[in-house]
């Protein structure tokens, strides 16, 4: 049994690869779906700490509310979904 071939990873032109780190993925996801930078009713820009925002996301998705960027949360963020934000200002 030969050693598994060392796969060569190439960059495909036009690939919308989301080569983001999990933290970048989380930042973009929390913003796009309304969990952070939620404008308070009074109009003040409120930056909710990511831990609190993560807990909100985990509650919305029925995950354990750890407030951490754990694997189940990262996997959930990679799932295909509807583009309508979960939280609206």
């Amino acid at each position: 049994w030969c050693l598994p071939l060392k796969s060569v990873f190439v960059t495909f032109p036009g690939d919308v690869i989301k080569n983001m780190t999990n933290t970048q993925l989380a930042d973009e996801y929390l913003k796009r779906y309304g969990y952070v930078d939620v404008l308070q009713r009074s109009g003040l820009q409120a930056v909710i700490s990511n831990a609190k925002a993560l807990k909100k996301l985990q509650r919305q998705l029925g995950l354990e509310e750890t407030g951490l960027l754990d694997q189940p949360t990262v996997d959930a963020m990679k799932q295909p979904r509807c583009g309508v934000p979960d939280i609206r200002n």
């Binding site: 060569v8 036009g14 979904r81 509807c82 979960d86």
Partner: protein, 567 residues
Amino acid sequence: YKTFDGDLKWDHTDVTYRILNYSPDMEASLIDDAFARAFKVWSDVTPLTFTRLFDGIADIMISFGKLDHGDPYPFDGKDGLLAHAYPPGEGTQGDAHFDDDEYWTLGSGPAIQTRYGNAEGAMCHFPFLFEGTSYSTCTTEGRTDGLPWCSTTADYDKDKKFGFCPSELLFTFDGNSNEAPCVFPFVFDGKKYDSCTTEGRNDGYRWCSTTANFDTDKKYGFCPNRDTAVIGGNSEGEPCHFPFTFLGNTYSSCTSEGRNDGKLWCGTTSNYDTDKKWGFCPDRGYSLFLVAAHEFGHALGLDHSNIKDALMYPMYKYVEGFPLHRDDIDGIQYLYGPRTGPEPTAPQPRTTTSSPVVPTKPSPSDKTTTASTTTQVVPSDDACQIKEFDAITEIQKELHFFKDGRYWKISGNGERKGPFMISAKWPALPAVINSAFEDHLTKKIYFFSERQFWVYSGNDVLGPRKIEKLGLPSDLDKVEGSMQRGKGKVLLFNGENFWRLDVKAQLIDRGYPRFTDAAFGGVPIDSHDVFLYKGFFYFCRESFYWRMNAKRQVDRVGYVKYDLLKC
């Protein structure tokens, strides 16, 4: 469940929708059906009804787009964000947008509806056997014309059931060519093209010319994706090229080599290493029906739910069968209440074989007009209150609707004018006419009422004369419809039969009558109006019309009052 702030909802229950464009991933009829089923999910549990419009502004405007598609919320390429919709309201509110960088299917792999062949539009069956070989995609094997085909059963060698697969050589969609196939090569911007192209567009859709020269003819259509078409990459819609070379190795099927995300891809030319042309291979795809049912939930006023099994949960999950969870039903009934009363069903027409089912839910206003037709109808000033017209026909490029001594006109730009008095323009005519047509050669207008007919040439009139004079049977009680066919011929309809009139000879041709359903399969055989309009044949029965294209295919069933009368 959650509703939008202020419980945004429609202030009426007869909601309208319109499909603005199609995805190249599936036949238009499959997309139509997926959207209709997605609406039915909600109308099954509420008093809501959904009527499809083909023109004008509808409550819910549905469209496909990619990346930046014209609103402030761009899509993101394949996977990730699939679609979005806006809560009820004016303008963009209530609209639904679908990301066309996704692979839209019925949720379990390529949904390939066939055309022509001998399987009457059945879906491809994958895999299938042909000459002992198993195929999991459409193939051009066994043919010399390069048209991809498939078997609609598991074993073509035994059953011999086949149909043709979507391909730009067979038809195009949208555009301005009535589905005519591509012409290769064609000239665009002085350059010659041998295949579909995205050149000249910034939305990434593949198109082609349907004549040899787009620059002079300006006739075009969009190319349907073949079932082997790649998704995303830098060759969206191009078919895989097997075999292809990658890093010096030869591949005869899709591979995940070279990627760390395990996604299957292929080259769309014979050599990836030199051409760098590629795309993702078709996977199970996303169920357009399920995603649409979710998005229409938003368009009706529902926000996201946090119940994992609810349809309104934000994540996509493929489920068979009825997709609503109790939570979804509670949410939508909080806004609109439960469905009341039995399902109103439209009168089922006595039609010929395989005609599309008529819309089964006339809107409440139709019910009132149904009631009114059982009593003596006082001629209404409002054409939109009339359920059934005496006659409909195109005169001097305007569609005319005749009823009880009055008529209305729809101009080319959809503006409705009237009512006008028939007697003011054509004083010799009775109040009720059964049919009319304008002879394209002489511009004379023929009117039929019971057993008589009149011929107007400007203000001069000939008649009334008996329809027997034309060679029609002496016991024929009336002519219900008429349709110009080529130069100097007109088809005259009555129920199951039609005759061909030679206008010049003023006589019915030999060999008639013929059966309507033999020549126009799929339309009602008791239409009370038949006419030609903008190159299509229209057969009307009560509030509905069946539209047939030049290929004698019924390509549309709709409401006379919305689509033709522009109510």
